[in-house]
């Protein structure tokens, strides 16, 4: 049985931990709110982009572009743009998205895979296993700007255009709600042009006036389309990370609370036992003197 002194020490430790986890939870909650706003703000652009792509796709059927190049047969090498966090203490957030990426690369192995990593966790994991991490970018808590996402996407696009990879996957965490996030993979290259709502190619697109011409617009739109998807994925992942951290830190705070009450109970028992023992000794001593 631990002495009251030892138990008091353990209560103090648990209280300290609880304070830290509670602070982390509150910070995550505040950042989550901001990240959620960013997710909302990115949506109109992404939606518009898809609309424009869909109407352009109709007008430019069969156009050639490096980003539309499809490898014949099985892809020889793949690229993965992996989005994780820089730090742990956020539940299964990092491990589940890394597992998803690991499943994808399994059949290719380190020689036929190139990785572009956002977040230290993913980069460290794959580097340790001998994979080629072409680029790494940290994740500031405030999220990243579109220009930064563009630079990342460009790394992936260049690899694809140079023929070093035949497919580029985006592996990120989709933000469903503060309590639920899902790791997701998405093939972003070669581009699959989004279908128009009804799948029809004709329709209003035929009346569009294009300046300079559909092919040229498409050529500058395609890379931008990829960039938008990457930006969206990063924004959603950042929100997911804060959500996951908030949930796990909230659970940790609760656990610390349970721990503290259990220890307090043990402490009181030990204290009482000591008192009882002392009384018994005094009574025993008095008896002996009679």
């Amino acid at each position: 049985m631990a002495t009251p002194r030892q138990i008091r020490g353990r209560i103090r430790v648990a209280k300290n931990i609880q304070q830290i986890t509670k602070a982390m939870k509150m910070v995550a909650a505040a950042r989550l709110r901001r990240a959620q706003e960013a997710v909302g703000a990115a949506r109109p652009y992404a939606k518009k982009m898809r609309d424009v792509m869909a109407s352009l796709g109709g007008a430019t059927g069969g156009v050639q572009h490096p980003l539309l190049r499809r490898a014949e047969g099985e892809p020889r090498a793949i690229g993965i743009l992996l989005i994780t966090g820089d730090r742990g203490l956020c539940g299964a957030y990092n491990s589940s998205v890394i597992r998803k990426a690991n499943d994808l690369v399994k059949s290719f192995g380190p020689e036929r895979t190139k990785l572009v990593c956002v977040g230290k966790k993913g980069a460290t994991f794959f580097r340790r296993r001998g994979f080629d991490v072409v680029a790494e970018h940290p994740v500031p808590a405030t999220g990243i700007s579109f220009a930064e996402a563009q630079a990342l996407a460009k790394t992936g696009r260049d690899l694809f255009a140079a023929g070093e990879i035949d497919v580029l996957y985006l592996v990120y965490t989709r933000f469903l709600s503060a309590l639920s996030q899902r790791p997701q993979e998405l093939q972003i290259l070669p581009i699959d042009p989004p279908e128009t709502e009804n799948g029809a190619v004709a329709g209003p697109t035929a009346e569009y006036l294009f300046e300079p011409d559909p092919e040229e617009i498409l050529a500058s739109l395609l890379p931008r389309y990829v960039d938008t998807q990457v930006y969206q994925a990063v924004v959603e992942s950042v929100a997911s990370e804060h959500g996951a951290r908030m949930t796990s830190m909230s659970a940790a705070t609760d656990n610390a609370g349970t721990m503290i009450s259990k220890l307090t109970l043990t402490l009181n028992r030990a204290r009482q036992a000591a008192i009882t023992k002392e009384i018994a000794e005094i009574v025993g001593g008095a008896e002996a003197l009679k």
């Binding site: 109109p44 982009m49 579109f146 300046e211």
Partner: protein
Amino acid sequence: MATTYPLEVVTPERVLLSEQVTMTIAPGSEGQLGILAHHMPLMTELAPGEVLATLADGRTTSHIVISGGFLEIAAGEGRTTILADSAERVDEIDITRAEADLAAARQMLADSSEGTSEQIEARRSIAHNEIRVRASRGQS
């Protein structure tokens, strides 16, 4: 009163403007574009430059600098959308930062070799930041 149509200026980070306007002037890649209501459906690329939108009251003008993007006029009510890579209202521009960005872009051009995508990127950035600085000076 002139007929109005809805204009939206959207960047990946936010919706900058969503208003009824009577006229928009935008920097098309093939030259300046003036858009009034009932324009025919159009899709065009935009160069770095200034967007001027005259709001429904006919007096207020929204003055925005964009770094390039796309403009779409949809069929039907003529809903016009500007998809900009980045956009800011002129009164939001931080002139010291714009000047610093301009210097950085010039440096990037000097460092880049002929015919690379970096060079194209640097030229674009210089054009954008020159307009930012000029627009911001004109404002104050």
